[in-house]
Amino acid sequence: MVKLYALSTCPHCKKAKQFLDDKKVDYQVVDVDLAKGREQKEALEEVERLTGRKSFPVIVINEIVVQGYKPEEIEGALDSET
């Protein structure tokens, strides 16, 4: 299961989406700044729990958390998933 927490204003988040799209990865994305009420609150709490900060993108691949757009780390995590 791959989940991407993003901000609609963040260029690195756009790159992360592009990267996952190019790799034909099936992923769920949450644009946290556009999310409303409880969904936003829960997403923020999750991101803060996983990374200790509220910076984006944050990509969760099963148990692996990648903070920031780091293609090699994302690729490594995807490989370990299959």
Binding site: L7, T9, C10, P11, H12, K54, S55, F56
Partner: protein
Amino acid sequence: MKHKIYCEVCMVSFIYKEEVEEGKVVICTICGAELQIEAVGPEIKAVRKPQEAETEIRNRVENYARLRDYTFNEDKELVIEGLIGKNEMYGDFYCPCRFDNIPENVCPCLETRMNDVRKNGRCF
């Protein structure tokens, strides 16, 4: 003669060694913001130099990079676009990759000003 000027962008005072006069534009040595001197007296009042948003943020990041001897990576234009977007939506140049639109996240953000670039190799 040394002067202490308060920068409203990074909310810190910096030392300015040249002559000061009303209307003069000075660059904050902490964050690179362009400030215009409004009043000279025991305390010097300076405000953000009135200018077009894109010019302001481009000058600021250029000044900051020069002050800190940083170079720009290939994401420069994308990040400037994001900063302009945040300024339009939220009224200031908040980091496009951070959720909280708070003063410490005004670019160059507090973490970057506290030498985060040395640790991570880039501003966040």
